[in-house]
């Protein structure tokens, strides 16, 4: 499944189509979803955003029929799902919710293996799949397989939730505020991981979020809804930022939309600097000599797997004989697919004015992105009037 062909890769996304879908809850005068029509191309990620109570969750749950539509059609790969057996249908649609929604009495492996089990996979195949998925979401199977949800951090639970949603390789995955319950740094990591997973798998993902920055970052398309799930605007993030359809959309994406362009730019799009590096276990004297010879005062420490472990000033390193092992979580590392605004966040906690950049599924070290590079880039963006079109809205003036 690692090979991707020029045409749609195996087990990849399916086209999703909503035709005039209505949901009216009993006792309500206005439908919660009032005639939503929408096409999501196969393999794309569409982000649902909108004010609270506008019908995002309701729309999402109608796709896996946790909520039955009052009327309308929902088509997956051209097939109407409203007449299908709901339980069977749900086994072919991934479902990821806020906090993970893991079953507390089942181990991590049992949670992830739930849908394969329901589909009647044999034990060996399910086990292999569980291992593969744990690796994919960055959890060591040997450590986490037999843990119970309460023995995981919130971020880890969420990772397992994502793995469970992917388990049976469904063409369509639904996510309802998947990263709403974790802290900002973990959220950014999870977003990066989801992006690299999606890059490989090309699923059709429908994701509800409250966070417009998350929508800009993750979405191929963004659907902005107002009350009654009425479409305010549907389009690519660049389009929506450049030309909000009306004041509602402009207000919604907020006054910082020029800065929000930073959420569209990836760290990998900018040149990285290459400060001196050293390996865990090297002799400190040697490292100091080498770094000072290069005229620098700090050094990036890599482990045997070429992953960044620390970014240290020489004076802190000189306390040791050999380069020590660092095991703490680094906050100053970003993936090359991270957005520039994520990178700026990481730089804020760095004492070097830069963040270490990694790439690939194993987090190989690539270089350092510096604050100066980013600000320089923003300045050139501002002078290139073609890149950012002026938008006539109240929000825009304020920035």
């Amino acid at each position: 499944m690692n090979q991707t062909t020029a045409t749609a890769p195996d087990g990849s996304g399916a086209q999703l189509e909503l035709v005039d879908v209505v949901k009216k809850y009993p006792g309500q005068s206005r439908p919660a979803v009032d005639g939503l029509s929408l096409t999501v191309p196969a393999g794309q990620t569409v982000m649902f955003v909108g004010p609270s109570g506008c019908g995002k969750t309701t729309s999402l749950k109608m796709i896996n029929r946790l909520i039955e539509p009052t009327s309308g059609q929902i088509l997956i790969d051209g097939e109407d799902i409203t007449g299908q057996d709901a339980t069977q249908l749900r086994r072919s649609i991934g479902y990821v919710i806020q906090g993970g929604g893991l079953l507390p009495h089942m181990s991590v492996a049992e949670n992830i293996g739930l849908v394969p089990g329901l589909l009647g996979w044999d034990k060996a195949r399910t086990k292999g799949r569980v291992e593969e998925l744990l690796e994919m979401v960055g959890l060591d199977p040997a450590v986490y397989r037999d843990r119970f949800p309460r023995e995981l951090s919130g971020g880890q639970q969420q990772r397992v939730g994502v793995a469970r949603g992917l388990a049976a390789d469904p063409p369509v995955i639904l996510m309802d505020e998947p990263f709403g319950a974790v802290d900002p740094i973990t959220r950014q990591r999870l977003q990066d991981e989801l992006m690299s997973i999606q890059e490989e798998l090309q699923k059709t993902i429908v994701c509800v979020t409250h966070d417009i920055d998350e929508a800009i970052k993750l979405g191929d398309q963004i659907l902005i809804l107002r009350e009654g799930a009425e479409i305010a605007q549907y389009g690519a993030p660049e389009e929506i930022l450049a030309a909000p359809a009306d004041d509602f959309v402009a207000d919604f994406i907020g006054s910082g939309s020029k800065l929000k362009q930073l959420s569209l730019l990836r760290v990998g799009d900018l040149p990285l600097s290459q400060p001196q590096t050293c390996r865990v276990g090297e002799s400190v004297d040697e490292v100091v000599r080498r770094v000072e010879a290069a005229g620098e005062r700090s050094v990036v420490i890599l482990d045997a797997q070429n992953r960044p472990k620390e970014y240290l000033f020489l004076r802190s390193l000189k306390r040791h004989q050999t380069v020590p092992v660092f095991s703490h979580e680094l906050q100053t590392v970003v993936d090359q697919r991270s957005t520039l605004s994520d990178a700026l966040d990481a730089m804020l906690v760095s004492s070097h004015g830069g963040a270490m950049v990694t790439g690939g599924s194993r987090g190989d070290y690539l270089g350092v992105i510096s604050y100066d590079t980013v600000t320089e880039h923003i300045r050139t963006l501002q002078t290139q009037t073609g890149q950012i079109r002026a938008v006539p809205s109240a929000g825009w003036e304020a920035s």
Binding site: N64, R90, I97, G101, L103, P104, V115, L118, F148, R150
Partner: protein
């Protein structure tokens, strides 16, 4: 007293066995019925207050009265004993099972359904396992109560240690009256303690490590 026990050793053991057997069988029956009722009741929201009322009021019916009501219907012997003991044992289990099943978060059930679990799978693999520790607590309470009620049921000539207590009471002032009553009572207390310990073990082994307190 020691002489008394010595002389009736085999009989005491046999009656203890009968007593435990009555309690355990009634407890099993009660658990099955109560959990089934609780599942029914929690699936239909309007029935829940009814279940709570029944289990609260039911416990206030004196067991002698219930026994008296049953005797003309089912006659004397083991059957009325089993019915009476099961009736009382079912009430705490029912109450706890309702509470336990209601305690399972709706969002969790929805998440399970969203993965493609059928209604039956959600019941067996999600709702019951999650409610199980609470149900087990109810079973332990029931077990203690059943031990006592089973003693009273002996009045209906049911089996067990209760007969000793009644013999003791009817012979007040007689040579062995105190011995009969004491041995009957102490025997039941010991059995109750053993059963409770066994249930604690059972609860440990049947509750997932992920939700154990």
């Amino acid at each position: 007293m020691i002489e008394f026990i010595d002389a009736r050793w085999a009989d005491i053991l046999f009656r203890s066995y009968q007593h435990s057997s009555l309690v355990i069988q009634s407890l099993l029956l009660a658990t099955v019925i109560a959990v089934a009722l609780a599942v029914l009741v929690t699936s239909c929201r309007r029935l829940t207050p009814v279940a709570n009322a029944v289990s609260a009021v039911g416990l206030t019916i004196p067991s002698f009265a219930l026994l008296g009501l049953l005797l003309p219907i089912v006659g004397i012997g083991t059957v009325p004993s089993v019915i009476v003991v099961s009736f009382y044992a079912a009430l705490p289990v029912l109450r706890n099972a309702v509470v336990g099943l209601q305690g399972v978060e709706a969002s969790l059930i929805e998440s399970a359904r969203g993965q493609g679990m059928s209604g039956a799978a959600v019941l067996w693999r999600v709702r019951l396992p999650l409610a199980w520790p609470v149900i087990m607590t109810g079973i332990r309470v029931s077990a203690q109560m059943a031990m006592g009620v089973a003693a009273i049921a002996a009045y209906a000539l049911g089996p067990g240690l209760g007969t000793y207590i009644f013999t003791g009471l009817t012979q007040v002032g007689g040579a062995n009256a105190l011995n009969y009553a004491l041995v009957g009572t102490l025997g039941i207390i010991i059995l109750a303690l053993i059963l409770d310990a066994l249930l604690v073990l059972l609860s440990r082994f049947t509750t997932s490590k992920g939700i154990r307190a």
